[in-house]
Symmetry: C2
Subunit: 198 residues, 2 copies
């Protein structure tokens, strides 16, 4: 146990996800040895985020305005909506530069284990966007795991009668990966999704 | 890239030691989803530490007062000083409950690679404590690595002529470890330091 504030800081840091007691101690000593200006900037940035960050009223992405940057961008294609679980996923897809449509952030995935059903996700909001819109394709970009699959299946069944094209991201071997080390589910999906060699 | 403050926070968190880009993003989203009260408490604890924490004028340990808790404690044994590299090491030794003497924190170890020589360490302060004191034994509790060994050797040579008992912590196989997996230096030291079986 350290004296007073230092131990408080170690305790607070230790509550963060992925930060064990050793890391919390290392971080606390790092901050202790840091320039006070840097520490103040970190502390203030945390508070600013809490104050400013909100969710886009259209797509549910993180934003500092009523509508996020992507929903405000007139150059994006209104005909395609990519549905993702979390705001982090929007950033991941944007990084690929492969997609120029719009997004919809569900805020999670269906998970009976965690008590998350369709009503806890932003599915009503997605349907509302489809009512009077020019949307032709919905890309379901859920995580390739049980919860993601369940969510995608639920959405596909709901969207199918609406006459939209509903697609899912391809699942298979990661690029740069090693077939030998792929788990059997991934390898199985890579087989199921095989395409004509070019 | 996220919008505004959120990206700033990810950047700031990513500057902390051991926090990669993925962890920084995870931490930022955690803070974003946290209770504002919790975030404010974390931010304020950081600032309080920078404001309050100082170094004990006697031993160099982290303290919120002129003298640390251990130096102020009249029940500790003045005859033994345990010399350590960092304040973290004081906490590690205290945790064993094996030691009831005083401490001296050097603030690092001799490392020509990093340009740290004896003058950058609190060695003068250690000598000053020995001048008019009742100290009989100095325990050198440096890290069991090259820098720690160099520092311990330097201190032993300096302290030897003063007629004090100078000891070092035993080096050998870690308790609960596996002989088979011990590196050769550790195993070599365990042989060199072998004792009569009991």
């Amino acid at each position: 146990m350290y004296e007073g504030a230092l131990q408080d800081l170690i305790d607070e840091l230790g509550r963060l996800p992925g930060v064990g007691p050793k890391s919390a101690q290392r971080l606390a000593f790092h901050l202790l040895a840091s320039d006070p200006v840097d520490v103040r900037r970190l502390a203030e940035t945390m508070l600013v985020v809490k104050e400013k960050a909100r969710f886009c009223s259209i797509c549910g992405n993180v934003s500092e305005d009523e509508q996020c940057r992507i929903c405000r961008d007139p150059r994006r294609d209104d005909a395609v909506i990519c549905v993702v679980e979390e705001a982090k996923d929007v950033v991941a897809v944007e990084r690929t530069r492969e997609f120029r449509g719009r997004y919809h952030v569900l805020g999670g995935a269906i998970s009976p284990m965690e008590g998350i059903g369709p009503d806890q996700l932003r599915i009503r909001e997605l349907l509302a966007r489809l009512n009077d819109s020019v949307v032709q394709e919905i890309i379901l970009a859920m995580d390739p795991n049980i919860e993601g699959d369940a969510t995608a299946t639920y959405l596909r069944r709901m969207l199918d009668p609406m006459g939209l094209t509903v697609t899912r991201l391809a699942s298979g071997l990661p690029v740069g990966g090693d077939l030998e080390y792929a788990d059997e589910v991934t390898l199985g999906r890579a087989f199921a999704g095989r395409r004509a060699a070019q």
